[in-house]
């Protein structure tokens, strides 16, 4: 823990090990995330960055035969505790996936889905929240006249921003993004990046990306992973200019990947 910490560390993970059956996929990872920062997880395919990300909202629980050890805390609270409610956890730690996955309903119903489940029925509140979320996700102008059209009828980039809006509507504390732009064209990717920069003062954002220039453009911190090990973590600028380790430098310079 550094001394010049202004923002508090909202997620702390310590000595994280993960096994798929017998195979060890994560080796003793210690990583903390600060509030209102964007942290990028980078590394070659199969390095465990997505696997690690999915530990943070316990999406790995769905995979059979998986063992996770180590400590995970969200605001000081153990998210793997015996009484942890994963439903509640996932409301606080939301996720955006590689493939846009809006529900097969209208844009409006997508964004209000979580709110309606939470018991909010007042039409005016819902309308306001829809507009606010869609504006935050920078998709409002494109969908405002088509709120009752199926979300699946929009382009991939628009769908991804609708997914972000759907998540913002339930106001999580942390947003996990698992390669959110790798299925999108450059212009859509740019819009998603702008969206993230736009909302980072309200959320803590952790993004897995294999696009290094994306990491350098938007993130405050970068963590480099290799073969299930955390190689290096630090301020993005510093890491891209003067990495500590040879492997980091080689990866950033495209010597492998």
């Amino acid at each position: 823990m550094t001394t010049k910490t202004e923002a508090k560390e909202i997620i702390k993970t310590e000595n994280v090990n993960l096994y798929y059956g017998e195979r060890k996929a994560l080796h003793g990872i210690n990583l903390n995330f600060r509030e209102n920062e964007i942290t990028a997880l980078i590394g070659p395919s199969g390095c465990g960055k997505s696997t690690y990300l999915r530990c943070l909202n316990r999406m790995n629980d769905l995979i059979p035969n998986i063992t996770i050890t180590g400590s995970f805390t969200l605001n000081g609270h153990n998210i793997y505790g015996p009484k942890e409610d994963t439903v509640q956890l996932r409301k606080e730690v939301g996720m955006v996936f590689q493939q846009p996955n809006p529900f097969p309903f209208s844009v409006y119903d997508n964004v209000t889905f979580g709110l309606k489940l939470a018991g909010i029925k007042d039409k005016k509140t819902l309308d306001e929240r829809v507009e606010e979320s869609l504006k935050q996700a920078a998709i409002w102008n494109e969908v405002k006249d088509k709120l009752h059209k199926s979300a699946l009828s929009f382009s991939g980039g628009q769908q991804q921003r609708i997914c972000i809006a759907r998540l913002l509507a339930i106001q999580p504390d942390v947003i996990l993004l698992d390669e959110p732009t790798s299925a999108l064209d450059p212009i859509s990717s740019q819009m998603i990046e702008d969206t993230l920069l736009n909302i980072k003062d309200k959320y803590t954002i952790i993004i897995v990306t294999h696009n290094m220039s994306q990491a350098s453009r938007i993130s405050d911190k970068t963590a480099f992973m290799l073969n299930g090990h955390l190689m290096e973590v630090g301020d993005t600028k510093k890491m891209f200019l003067t990495p500590d380790k040879q492997e980091t430098s080689d990866y950033l310079n495209g010597k492998f990947g």
């Binding site: 999406m59 529900f103 979580g114 489940l117 339930i170």
Partner: protein, 302 residues
């Protein structure tokens, strides 16, 4: 003589084509024969008059209605059960020997000869539970006959829903059951609709399972009596009801009306046409539901 790969390939394709044409020709011949011999006997009067047991000129009004009513009742009974079973098998069943046993039992049930289902229904429903020859007995027998198929198609439709959608639901803080009801089921509905309509076609054409359960007589009923408890009401589920398929079977085995042949070929043509409509509409309604649900057209599988 040296046979090269090209020739073998041509030979193989030729053989496959020949085999496919045999199937298609048999199908065209059967459908063509039934439609050609039957279509000329279908008239409005034929469809709307009662059947006759002695004299010529009988229609199929009651049999046609009975078939439809029986179909509706069967679907009403079997759909909820199949939905529950299909959801369980697709979403909750663990991969262990109990699940394997259940799946095997369903397979066995689906390959049961329908006459066995009919006789079983006769012993249990008609005799033991004293439901007599009735639409209800028939509908329960058809449910037994229909459950495996429908359960299978519900299960398949649910399993076809992409994992991404489930993850979307769960990652937004939905419980598993809410994800299934709110996200997975709506996406599975087009497939389920297709399954229901296809199995309807099978139910509609079923005879053997009904001979000893719904019975072989079609008492005159009143189509203006809407009280389902009145014995003469067309809605009364406790009356015996000969269906179209059973009627065709009976005309050909013990029919004594002089025009048995004409009535039977007309009724067969009606039956085939209805089943064709079911099959063609299943695709249409499945796609329609998908469009309604997603605003996009359905992608071909494969």
């Amino acid at each position: 003589m040296k046979i090269n790969a090209k020739k073998i390939n041509k030979l193989a394709i030729g053989t496959i084509w020949a085999l496919v044409s045999v199937v298609v020709l048999i199908l065209i011949f059967l459908l063509g024969y039934i439609l050609v011999t039957g279509l000329s006997d279908i008239s409005w009067k034929f469809l709307t008059s009662t059947s006759s047991s002695i004299s010529a000129g009988g229609g199929i009004r009651d049999q046609l209605f009975n078939s439809v009513y029986l179909l509706v009742l069967t679907i009403i009974i079997s759909l909820p059960i199949s939905l529950g079973a299909g959801i369980y098998l697709a979403e909750y069943a663990k991969d262990n020997w109990i699940t394997t046993l259940i799946k095997t039992a369903i397979e066995v049930l689906s390959s049961l000869p329908s006459i066995v289902v009919g006789l079983f229904g006769y012993l249990i429903l008609v005799i033991k539970f004293q439901l007599d020859y009735s639409i209800l007995s028939g509908a329960i027998a058809l449910t037994i006959f229909n459950l495996p198929l429908l359960t299978r198609s519900v299960e398949d439709s649910i399993e076809e829903v992409p994992k991404l959608q489930r993850e979307a639901g769960l990652s937004l803080g939905l419980s598993k059951s809410k994800t299934i009801v709110g996200v997975v089921l709506p996406l599975a509905i087009p497939g389920i609709i297709t399954g229901v309509i296809l199995s309807s076609g099978r139910i509609f054409g079923e005879a053997a399972a009904l001979i000893y359960t719904a019975g072989q007589s079609a008492p005159i009923v009143s189509y203006t009596d809407w009280n389902p408890f009145s014995p003469s009401s067309f809605l009364n589920p406790m009356r015996p009801a000969e269906t179209l398929a059973v009627h065709i079977w009976k005309l050909n085995t013990e029919g004594i009306v002089p025009d048995a042949h004409i009535v039977s070929s007309g009724a067969s043509a009606v039956l085939i046409i209805v089943i064709l409509i079911f099959n063609l509409s299943s695709r249409f309604f499945g796609n329609w539901a998908y469009r309604k649900m997603t605003g996009t057209t359905r992608k071909k599988r494969g």
